[in-house]
């Protein structure tokens, strides 16, 4: 649905910052999250996990555990079928290992018992006979022809000679004459980079409560970013009909992409089916680290040529991503986003996807993009340093804009990159003085944003209030934004609208809360549903006034006669129309179902000042400013919140966070003490500058804002560290020992 033609529109409630509808529940502890539900007769489910990175399962003996008093059901992979769809089978195999365990923490059996203590005791009584196999956890090592093969039969077609069967996927794309481009360059920089796998780090571990009857009817309560996707996956895995499984999304304690698949839900349903009792499973933090979905780790090579005056003449990148023990396509998004910020005549991008003995990756905020853009923005910055050019000036000189053929193919429509860069140039942060051992870095960031399948129902209640039913878990204030858009469209106060997130049997399918789609797509459907309701209210009023329907129009919360010819009638408010709706034809509701298109891409620029301690190698973030195009900020607090939260996740990725595997292929830091996410004392305030370059694909101009902010911090901080120390770091995280080592080597 295109941007409303009247671009000078003055919004009444859009852009204000009212209290969120779930606020009181969340500050009083009343909000119910995944682990907060119970059911009568509930059993406690616990999962036995592999201590090996890679091993054959020769046998599983559950007899001693079954004999333990209080144990009501035990399942292994034998309790599941073999789905035809290989993507479903991969999810199922990840939830419960079949023939081999593929990573440290891979589930092999599960127990449901009358108490958590009995369930844990029973796990110790299960005897699994493993035959350990050689393992590989590093992306480059996994590509070598002599690497242990993680899963046979998954190699890409036409696997090039000299590569391991672990290589599942390869592509190349780009345009222009690369050789001619590099010939024109005054300076070429070519570098290789590595980034560690990181975890989304949501504070709420995965949790669910499942109740499954022998007639195939089930109820599932879980923390997820998409109850409909959970229903479809679980129904496929358990071989039941989707309509018979009702999935209710709890309040969600963070997701960031990590709750876009299932890990424990099919296991809890299977245990419930076998025991005939409700079963609750809550992951421990260690299980979250070992057996949910972190992001990919990467290895990449980037080569860029530039003229003396800062024009990029050619750009080439090769990205190698491992996504754990199952095929994953994340490298595509990395490769496609890598050069999105630049208008290039010659660009080529190559991607490789590789299996390793690590947990299956899950999406993490702008999946694939941060590590690719980190490599590219590091090289662009190094060229600026080598050529003595201003890094914002160079980015402006090469910036993609409307009409630019992007490196991944499409030609951009209205985009906010140049405006964002100009805002950074004009900001006092960019010219503030720096002290010793301090440096300033910057980076651009990008994400595609999606629309997708969306249903919204809008009910006009008899008392003149409005209820909205939608199907996307509220992960960062979206109920407030949706209520705001309905209030704006209907011309009623925000407080008159209440938005709820419905279960799978109360509204039609909604895609996952992902891709920064909710405020865009659910907002769009809400606006359309409100327009549907307005049309119906106008029709009622036309009947009351006994005039034609098209002689009534809606303005500022009132149905009004369209002109002198329509007659002179006092405008009727929504409240008045609602109060007599029973008498005029029955309840009034609007609804809209759509596969929303037209999500606008999102660009951001981050500026950061750091100080590197030469004694310890520790990097302190002193000042941080995020500039981002939001299209139209519906509830600016929550737009800023996305910008700040994403930036801090990126800061953690740049400086501290990493999955550390030992020689034995086991994860060495599966806890929040050793996997260190940023804490309050690590950080300064995160300043934000919201730009509003309307997205032509949304009636109010909304763009998704959630993902882009995690992209720039990796390179921005690396570039700042480089300017503070004279060192070009090429591996993340830039933890103190790594920086100290580089400082010592430099001497």
């Amino acid at each position: 649905m295109p941007l409303d033609a009247n671009k000078k529109r003055v919004f009444k409630v859009i852009g204000t910052r009212p209290a969120r509808p779930d606020g009181i529940d969340k500050v009083t502890g009343r909000a119910l999250y995944g682990a907060d539900a119970t059911a009568p007769g509930m059993l406690f489910g616990h999962i036995l996990r592999s201590p090996h990175a890679h091993a054959l399962i020769k046998s599983i003996d559950t007899s001693a555990a079954e004999a333990l008093s209080g144990v009501k059901a035990i399942i292994t992979s034998k309790d599941f079928g073999l789905p035809d769809d290989s993507s479903v089978l991969d999810v199922q195999d990840n939830c419960m290992a079949r023939e081999k365990v593929l990573y440290d923490g891979h589930a092999v059996a599960a127990v449901a018992a009358t108490s958590a203590a009995i369930a844990k005791k029973a796990l110790k009584l299960i005897k699994v006979d493993y035959e350990a196999l050689p393992h590989v956890t590093d992306v480059d090592a996994a590509m070598r022809p002599d690497a242990p093969i993680v899963q046979a039969g998954r190699a890409m077609d036409d696997l090039p000679a000299g590569l391991s069967e672990n290589v599942t996927y390869h592509f190349e794309f780009g345009h222009g004459d690369m050789d001619a481009g590099f010939d024109k360059a005054d300076k070429i920089v070519e570098r290789s980079f590595k980034t560690a796998a990181t975890h989304q780090g949501y504070i709420e571990p995965h949790a669910c409560l499942a109740s499954m009857n022998s007639d195939g009817k089930g109820e599932l309560w879980c923390c997820t970013q998409g109850q409909f996707f959970v229903r479809e996956l679980c129904a496929d895995i358990l071989e039941i009909e989707a309509s018979q499984l009702r999935v209710t999304a709890s309040e969600i304690g963070g997701g960031f992409g990590g709750k876009t698949t299932v890990f424990i839900e099919p296991v809890a349903l299977a245990l419930s089916r076998k025991s005939g009792r409700p079963v609750k499973i809550v992951m421990s933090r260690e299980e979250v680290f070992r057996a949910s979905g972190p992001t990919v780790s990467s290895s990449s090579d980037v080569k860029i040529g530039m003229t003396k005056d800062g024009r990029i003449t050619a750009a080439h990148a090769t990205f190698r991503y491992q996504g754990g023990a199952f095929p994953c396509g994340t490298v595509q998004f990395g490769a496609q986003s890598a050069f999105a910020a630049y208008d290039l005549d010659a660009v080529q991008t190559i991607g490789w996807s590789v299996l390793t003995n690590r947990p299956k990756e899950a999406a993490y905020r702008a999946p694939g993009a941060p590590m690719a853009i980190y490599a590219v923005e590091s090289v662009v910055d190094e060229l600026c340093q080598e050529l003595g050019l201003d890094p914002l000036d160079v980015r402006l000189k090469n910036a993609a804009q409307k009409g630019t053929k992007s490196s991944y193919g499409p030609t951009f429509d209205d985009i906010g990159l140049k405006a964002t860069l100009e805002a950074a140039v004009a900001h006092p942060h960019y010219t503030a003085p720096l002290g010793p051992n301090q440096g300033r870095g910057l980076s651009c960031g990008f994400w595609f944003n999606f629309g997708g399948n969306t249903c919204v129902s809008l009910n006009v209640n008899f008392d003149g209030t409005v209820g909205i039913t939608e199907g996307n878990p509220d992960i960062g204030g979206s109920r407030a934004s949706i209520s705001l858009m309905a209030a704006e469209e209907l011309g009623i106060p925000y407080e008159k609208v209440r938005t709820i997130v419905a279960d799978t049997n109360s509204i039609g399918h909604n895609d996952i809360t992902d891709g920064s789609r909710v405020t865009f797509a659910v907002g769009l459907a809400t606006i359309k549903a409100a327009r549907d309701a307005k049309q119906k209210m106008c029709a009622r009023v036309a009947k009351i006034w006994d005039i034609d329907e098209d002689a009534v129009y809606w303005e500022d919360g009132y149905a009004k006669p369209s002109g002198p010819n329509a007659g002179t009638f006092d405008p009727m408010s929504l409240e008045e129309i609602a109060a007599i709706s029973a008498e005029t034809g029955g309840p009034i509701a609007g609804h809209h179902e759509v596969n929303a298109d037209g999500a606008g891409v999102s660009f951001g620029v981050h500026l950061v000042d750091v100080e590197v301690d030469p004694e310890t190698g520790a990097t302190e973030v002193l000042r941080y400013t995020v500039f981002q195009d939001a299209g139209k900020a519906i509830h600016p607090d929550y737009v800023e919140g996305q910008m700040q939260g994403g930036a801090v996740q990126g800061i953690g990725w740049a400086l501290n966070e990493e999955y550390i595997y030992g020689e034995d292929g086991r994860l060495q830091n599966p806890g929040l003490l050793d996997y260190r996410i940023p804490v309050a004392s690590d950080l300064p305030n995160i300043d934000t500058v919201i730009l509003e370059i309307p997205n032509p694909g949304h009636p109010y101009g909304v763009r998704g804002v959630g993902e882009t902010p995690i992209v720039p911090p990796l390179a921005a901080i690396s570039n700042a560290v480089s300017r503070a120390t004279g060192l070009r770091m090429s591996e993340l995280p830039m933890s103190p020992p790594r920086v100290l080592k580089a400082l010592s080597a430099k001497g």
Binding site: R20, V27, I203, R285, G476, G641, L672
Partner: protein
């Protein structure tokens, strides 16, 4: 091992429960008393989502045994509002959008309240170090620090 009978005070109310000797106060609150406002994010004292006070001292309830509550006064998030009146911290967290997913919020509110009782006029840095044991993954802490400051100002009558 036999369960232990514990008499305690929770949010001002006399409360009795039995628990296993190795059962954490967090499990008692959540599983035996239905006080699920305190959350378990790690079970190892690293995330602070289970923060409560015991005799006025801020603790991670996952690291305290249920049995240790005997004779003590425990305060949880459920006791923070007085009837319909929110504590100024709760109100400023809502008004300042200092929460996104909200799962860390109860622990952060309990911890911030304990700070302001000790230090009614903290600097940003003091707030940041006091809350360093409470992880938030959504907000980047910015709006949390600001909400604590504005609540503190209101409580000082500023």
């Amino acid at each position: 091992m036999k369960n232990i009978h514990v008499s305690t005070t929770i949010n001002g109310d006399p409360t009795e429960f039995i628990c296993a000797p190795d059962e954490s106060l967090l499990d008692v609150l959540r599983d035996r008393l239905g006080l699920t406002g305190s959350k378990e994010g790690c079970g190892s004292g690293d995330c602070g989502a289970c923060s409560v006070t015991v005799n006025g001292r801020l603790v991670c309830s996952c690291l305290v045994l249920g049995a240790e509550a005997d004779g003590a006064a425990v305060e949880t998030i459920e006791g923070m509002a007085q009837g319909e009146t929110l504590h100024p911290l709760q109100q400023h967290f809502i008004d300042g959008a200092a929460l996104q997913c909200g799962v860390c919020t109860p622990g952060i509110l309990v911890a911030a309240k304990a700070l302001l009782e000790k230090n009614p006029n903290p600097t940003d840095t003091e707030i940041r170090y006091w809350l360093a044991g409470n992880l938030c993954r959504c907000t980047g802490y910015d709006k949390i620090i600001k909400a604590v400051q504005s609540a503190a100002a209101e409580m000082r009558g500023a």
